[in-house]
Symmetry: D2
Subunit: 378 residues, 4 copies
């Protein structure tokens, strides 16, 4: 059967299909072997077209060995946090992907920069504004690239949404609502302030914040927020359960966002314009993203070929390394979100609206627009 789900473009089949020779692909060391790495990232490298897994770094040596062997690596490719710097002598490892608790991002970024490796870092960029700023500086000083791993800025569906919003298909944009909630089980590092740096805002609320900024291309001028944790719920002794916040963007566009660690998995984003509504539901899941545009005449569901989102994101960074470009979501983009999350927490503490410094222009903290190739933007 020829599956005729439409491709996203009309590139030659060959281009779409066959990855670069493995030897020419950018080699990565992945740091951290948690669920995200095991379930999503290791398979993503396996289907990436410009990227390959070259080493694994973990303090659980058995786990590292199992992962290495499962994906065709050898014992020599399994490193510990102590031996991490030995990667310096591996020219086939050009980059690292940091998948550690937030508060460790800074340390490993700095260590990677010191040994000359480019850094792709999981979101949030860090556990604090200060750390995020230091990471940007460290990579700049070392002459390596730093990219914040915002996969939702690299999928065809989110780009289609951005095109519709910025292209006027909804008329004049008036309001946005976005929700990102999930049930965080007790016991994980995300509930410990020292490791996570904060609660649901840093982990899931960040999607609402970041994707709205991506869709509009502009920066908020003021915001108001409040947090809530269910009294007596032992999970939320150190970090907040829920955050609700309101942001105002240039032109008066108002965005209402909610995130929580206490509500059943839902991830949505709606944009309300004078001529139509754009609905992403789910908006941030790994698969089965759904984009609909509602007008008075019709509800139109856009059909786009889905590709592994992590592979798209990693391949973008590889393309930037191979071609000497800045990533579309560099460290500065992640840093700006840290500043905004800081302001959200500040408003919640004081109960007062926070006015933000105006940021002129569009995509102020982003790199050049990625090329629009059939499967990805790299």
């Amino acid at each position: 059967m020829t599956d005729q789900t439409p491709t996203n473009d009309s590139a030659p089949a060959e281009t779409q299909s066959v990855p670069q020779p493995a030897a020419r692909q950018v080699g990565y060391a992945v740091i951290g072997l948690g669920e995200l790495t095991l379930e999503e990232l290791l398979p993503a490298w396996a289907v990436g077209k410009r990227s390959r897994l070259a080493a694994v770094v973990s303090d659980d040596h058995d786990k590292a060995l199992r992962a290495a062997r499962a994906y065709g690596l050898t014992e020599a490719d399994a490193y510990s946090y102590d031996t991490f710097e030995e990667l310096q002598s591996r020219p086939d490892v050009q980059a690292v992907y940091i998948v550690l608790p937030n508060s460790l991002h800074r340390e490993y970024t700095e260590r990677a920069a010191r040994i000359g490796k480019h850094v792709l870092c999981e979101k949030p960029l860090a556990g604090s504004v200060e750390d995020a700023g230091a990471m940007v500086a460290a990579c700049r000083d070392a002459g390596v690239k730093l990219m914040t791993a915002y996969r939702c800025q690299y999928t065809p569906l989110h780009w289609r949404a951005r095109d519709l919003v910025q292209g006027g298909d909804l008329g004049s944009v008036k309001l946005i609502h976005s929700v990102n909630v999930q049930v965080e089980p007790a016991g994980g590092w995300r509930l410990k302030r020292e490791l996570a740096g904060g609660g649901s805002l840093l982990d899931v609320g960040l999607y609402c914040l970041n994707t709205i900024r991506f869709l509009l291309g502009t920066e908020p001028t003021s915001l108001w927020a409040q947090t809530h944790s269910t009294p007596g719920d032992p999970r939320f002794g150190e970090v907040e359960e829920s955050v609700t916040w309101v942001m105002t963007f240039p032109g008066g566009v108002t965005a209402q966002c909610s995130c929580s660690y206490g509500a059943a998995h839902t991830r949505t984003l709606d944009v309300y314009g004078s001529e139509g509504r754009l609905q992403l539901d789910p908006a941030f899941d790994y698969t089965n993203l759904n984009l609909r545009v509602h007008t008075p005449e019709a509800i139109t569901e856009h059909r786009l070929k889905e590709t592994d989102q992590f592979a798209l994101e990693i391949d973008h960074f590889s393309a930037c390394i191979q071609e000497g470009r800045e990533p579309f979501t560099p460290g500065e983009e992640g840093l700006q979100d840290q500043r905004l999350m800081d302001a959200i927490y500040r408003s919640a503490r004081t109960g007062q609206p926070v006015t933000l410094d105006p940021v002129p222009g569009t995509d102020a903290f982003r790199g050049p627009l990625p090329a629009r190739t059939p499967d990805a933007r790299d």
Copy 2:
């Protein structure tokens, strides 16, 4: 064909089908012949089972005559605003339905109360808290019933939603989002402060406010709000275009709402609980309401037989009149919404959160729960 869309209950078909004899039904005079009356209410009386149209009141005599004749009334049944009081001598007219600009609700309620007619009043109850309070007092003093025409508290689907929320089907409720927006064309009375008393909040935002209160059964303890009108849009010189507000309810449930006169028709309400999400989309339309519950295992769309919503609402008031009961949404219920909308505007003016007086109990401003009959709650 026997259409087997499920009925909402297992009552005898006869009960469902045949209205009361017309002579025994409650007779209404409708005051105001705008679009809502012509498109929705006149047909609603035609299919109501306890209610019939008995008179029309308008200052456009030709229009009144046409409406009267179209629905089987005579020239004698067409009244003007001047001759309104002549209805006092019509024992077959027990009630009036006021469908006038908001700021006229008080005058006609008081006039109706004076001639001993029960009053069903379109929402919002009035253009101001003061007027709403006066209406409640006038009807109480005159010994006539006053009901706020909140149709969304009388449909099977909204009751199913309330049962799910209050019955624990979603686990512990954490967050709510609700949006009610439409494009209001230039020129109508809704854009004139003197007639409307306010902008999109009073007309469409009220749905979010009122339905959330209905679903939870409790009252908000604090809120924060802001308004926005597009600079240079001539429609919004007197009343606001958009309002976004955040309400906190007992137990920490946070609701984020948006309403607007500047965005394309959308009406949604989502409730996020620890075990699932309830989605009403559309939430407030006259037909084709849709209720879905999302859990990690499934998305379940509830199928309920739709009945004319206005007929359900009017028949509820008729049942209250016939049986000497209080309406489920009496004047007090409408008055409470006016107080809350007043607080929303106050917060928007000051930029400060507003703390509300605590209201203990559930359904504090509502009458006894309506009986659950097959098609309606009357």
Copy 3:
């Protein structure tokens, strides 16, 4: 709230809203007070714009009186089958609507024609080809109009579907599938051959047959069919439970249809073309019809304002009476379906394909296209 669900056209609100004066509307006597009449037709007259209920005919006098009173008629407006002919002296009753078991359609059509009343007859037109032919002849000879009550040829959604199919929006039409099934409870007249004339084909399968013919505008050239009744199910001793049949239309379009009295309520119709798929699901319900077009790029759900389907159908007949036009679905249209159902049963009996006489042209058995007014086609 102004409900901004789009209207189907841009006619003046006045035109859409106010019915003709009751005295000028066409008066109907409804014959038969079963569930369809009580639940759907009586309310339909109440909201019709050119049609009013003027008399009820039933052999259950109490029921007739209750129905008459409920809809504003008097005792004098309730007739029995014996006194039916007295309607001759009622000039305010111009038409009858026959809602009786299929095998009685002929008798009452002939009796109505004899007293000069136009006849709107529920589908199927009759219990046999012979009866249907006699009905057409009787009305022609008496100079009264005969219309088959095919509501699915009068709704905006079915016309939109026809426009899409005939307008080439799907490319070249290749295949059609349609299903109409429901669970028929034991005990009703539909399971008695003498009254129904056949089983699920005549009652629900007819929708597939008739709507496909309406969408294409052409007539099938051959067909193959089989029937099935679950052994031992006492409901299906006299009439068949299920029919599956395949029809070929000019150009090779093949339609596969299934109907049943044994499967849970489903009514769908799908058209598969070289460039897209049109999906009606539900296709034949009284409300909440849904029309989607799937192409490789998008799934588009058409939003059309729903109006009471029975009111549209009845108003069309009234318009034809008032303006001296032929109905779009005259008796001849119903007769052609009877011939085709006869051929379906014949194929099922013999196991052989049946070749049908070619019928050139389009809409060969239909009257002039109805005018496209905002709410209806009358």
Copy 4:
């Protein structure tokens, strides 16, 4: 973000995540480097947990080299059709996956069997009943396993559907409709009789046939069919464009199927029972499969974690090889479909229904039920 889309079971995360060591996985040589191989199968091996790519076979040496290098193989792993037999000396290659035009399946199955390799063969098993029978015999005689690559018998969603159908959730099954159509472009081997052995039936219609048999577990007892090719369409000079057929299963269940090479991509399957309808739409796509159950009370969309369908299928064969089990869809299962497709063509040629030999029992041509592990059935 922890993506909480539900897993399909509660197995330890470790089990789900980490593949077997690459050295212990079953090694495959893929034969044929068309679109299916490049787009779907090569990535599938990369994410499989028991399977790895070990060699590629193609007569296009450049293409073979590119594919080998892209997936971490060397020049030595690229074979041609002439050097295929050299794989005999590769103990790390235990199996082949044949992805060639249908009429070549027999030759390569026989050649693989002769060199002692297990055979996973794309569907249809062959271009004719005779070839399919010979393949079963060749593998049996050589003591190697033969599996027909029916991916829709290995996904969680299709198994959920089977459980619902066979578990009585729909009540008594009455009717089935299934459609599988796509636009086949001119020029490919699928339109050449010598290579394909037939038209749309063999390629896409087979999905309807095979999945219905899988869901019911039983074999049809009779069928009727017709084919159609648009006159003048040059694509359909050798093979048929469309096939419509009707099958009767034990108990009277009737299935109506359509397939075509001339209609826009649609793949659906609906089962109609006395208590509900099961809807698969899309039913056979590679991703985003959707399963809904409609009852009078609700429409329930089942949410199941999607896993790469080809990886599930390949891993099942690997598990069978590793554990010495018969595949669930052995050659015999594919052979039975060939016999049925032969009967469909025969009926279409003669215009007569075809009676089939009764096959007692359930899953008569299938191997033991696969174990239900979290992600797959292997």
